[in-house]
Each structure stands twice: as C-alpha cells, then as structure tokens.
Point group: C2
Chain length 220, copies 2
C-alpha cells in the first residue's frame, strides 16, 4: 500500500493523462475543421480550450499542495516539478490546436489547405495526434520504452515539414502566397505539438528512471 | 538583514536577469544576421545558445536546492516555482532567436527579408528586443508597474504582425512564396519572444504581489 505522497502523485498523473486526452481531441477536431472547412468544429476547439486551461490550474494546485504538505525532497521533489512542467506543455499543445482551428476558421468557406498538399498536412496532423495519444498511454503506464521510442519518431515530423516546404516552394505551386503561408504556419503548429509530446515523454522517462534522456543524448 | 531563503532567492533572480541579458543579445544579434545576411553572426547566435541552456540548468539546480533545503511553503514556494518557469521561458526565447538566425543563414548570401518589408520586420525585432531588455530591468527591480505596462505593449507586436501579413498577401508583393513564408515564420518567432517576455513580466508581478495579472484580466 502506497504512502499519501505517492497516492496523491498518482492522482496528479491520472489528471495529466486526462488532459492529454482532451489535447488529443483538440488536435483531432482542429484538423477536421481545417480539412473540411468546418467553422462549427473550429469554434468548438477554440471554446473547449478553456476546459484544458481550467484542468491545468487544478493540477497545478494539486502539485502545490503536494509540495507544501508533503515537503518532498530529492527525486520526489523533481517528480512533482516535472508534473508541473508537463501540465504547462499540455496546455500549450491545446493553444497550438486552437491556432490550427483559427486558420481553418479564417479561410471558411474555402479549405485553407489545397487538395494537392492535403496528404502531407493530414500526415503531419496524424503524426501529431498519434504522438499525443501515445503520450497519454505513456503517462498512464509510466512506459519508459514507449517514451524513448516516441522521441525517435520526432524525425518523421521533420521530414513531413521539409516535404511541405518543397511543395509550396516548388515551381508547380499554383495556390499563391496565402495558402503557402498557412501551410508554413500549420506545419509549425503541428511540429510544436510533436515537440511537446516528445518533451513530455522524456519527462516520464525522468519520473520513472531519474534520468533525463535529453541529457544522455546531448552527452552522446 | 534577510534570511538565508531570501538571500538565495535574490541570487536566483540575479541569475535570471543575467540570462535575460544573454537573451537580449541573442535577439539583437539574430536580427543583425537576418537584416545583414551575416552568416558569422548567425553562427555565433546558434553556438551561443548552449550558454543560455547551461545557465538555465544552473538556475534550476539552485531552485531545487532552495526547495529541498529551505522547504518553502505557500507564497515562498510559488515564488521558487515561478523562477523555474521564468528560466524555462528565457531558454525558449533563446531557441526562438536561434530560429531567426537559422533563417538568416539559410538565405545567405541573400537577405531573407526584402527591402520593402524590412521596416516592419525591423520594428518587430526591435519591439521584441526592447521587451526583453525591459524584462531584465523588471526582474532586477521587481518593478510591478513596468511589468503591467509591458503586458499592454503586446498589442503593438500583434499590429506589426498583421501589417506584415497585409504586405506579403498584397497584390504588389513581388518577392514570391519563399520570402513570404520566411516573413510569416519570422513574425511568429518574434511574436513568441514577446509573448514570453509578457509572461515573465506577469510572473514578476505575481512574485511581488501574490496576484497573477492574467487571472485578474481573465476575470475582467
């Protein structure tokens, strides 16, 4: 039977996983609004972001209570601070989904993403959504090997982003500057969602092992 | 005479101000490399970022030591966590400066920013740099009124960003897709630097007053 500190910590990580699920929905719906030029879904993503913000505040309060009442030191202290950072990143991923939804809303009734580049953008969106879904499981199961694997998949997003630049900067790009700018910013938003997913996965590795895989990587 | 906790906290805020100075240099030099297509300065900004990363780690260690040894509660605890968040944001601002320098480097020997839009981009860069410089002073002097004023100036960056979009999307834009995409991403990077500056200023307000101006704003 676990002590009070670790029981409360489990509750915090449970809430982090729940917020991660909300973020996955946000990414998924924002992409749907983008590719279908659906203003109602875009509005839903934008208005639902306050729920993620509220959930973040609640997790922060739990963490402050843990720090104040349980006075953890050493590894336990760093785990609570890691949780505080994870919830900040999850909120940021929600904000980035809102940015995607706002580009969708701005171009309605047109679809912001021209048909010929939709496969690339859809793939970026799917990679981002899949990473968020996997992070949720990584948090639930404290799955270190899945977390390390997620870090490797970051390269796929980089490749897709380069592919999108090649397309919009190519001679056969006929959709003008506005669509190209939208694609560049959308790519940036999905890339940042993926970056945060990797960062959260790395924090889970740290929480479980006490080792930061980024530190190990930078030493390599 | 201050107690050990507040003396160590002063040291942390001194280091935060120093890092803020390094970030101001990064923003300033990245912009210089961008507008002068100077690859050497761009390389300097990119390689100097490790110093900001190292300084961040040192501040984090100081904060963990403060939390472990001094076991602060209530307001003092939140101040240390605020410092941890401030240093994370400062590191991020350094990363964003590196992104600016990399766009500069990618276009050398050309200047990434066409002459006709340089006034707008220079202004964005100057607003960002000025906000970083002011944040340094806000940290040093715990200047709440200057911090609240900084929050208001965020709107200037939004206006400049809209102006840059109007230019690149206008019929008389003759510089093609690549330059437009660069401008859109550069605008995003400078905007994010400004966002982080405002966020850090808000954290200083919280550190001094115990009130988060964003919370107050969202209630209004």
């Amino acid at each position: 039977m676990r002590d009070v500190f670790h029981e409360q910590l489990d509750a915090v990580f449970g809430d982090l996983a729940t917020i991660c699920g909300q973020v996955e929905t946000a990414v998924c719906q924002a992409t749907k609004s983008l590719l279908e030029a659906d203003v109602e879904i875009a509005e839903q993503v934008i208005s639902a972001d306050v729920d993620i913000d509220r959930a973040r505040v609640e997790v922060e309060e739990q963490c402050f209570e843990l720090l104040s009442l349980q006075q953890p030191v050493a590894g336990d202290l760093r785990v609570v601070v890691a949780a505080l950072r994870m919830v900040t990143e999850l909120e940021r991923m929600g904000d980035l989904s809102v940015h995607v939804a706002k580009i969708a809303r701005m171009r309605v009734p047109d679809v912001a993403v021209p048909a010929e580049i939709q496969p690339t953008v859809s793939r970026m969106a799917e990679v981002a959504r899949d990473m968020v879904a996997r992070v949720e499981q990584i948090i639930v199961h404290r799955d270190v090997s899945a977390a390390i694997e997620l870090g490797r998949d970051d390269e796929i997003m980089d490749q897709l982003r380069r592919a999108s630049f090649t397309q919009v900067l190519g001679d056969d790009w006929t959709h003008g500057v506005e669509a190209a700018v939208d694609i560049a910013l959308l790519g940036r938003y999905y890339e940042r969602i993926a970056d945060h997913a990797v960062s959260i996965a790395n924090r889970v590795v740290f929480v479980v092992t006490g080792e930061d895989p980024r530190a190990a990587a930078s030493e390599a």
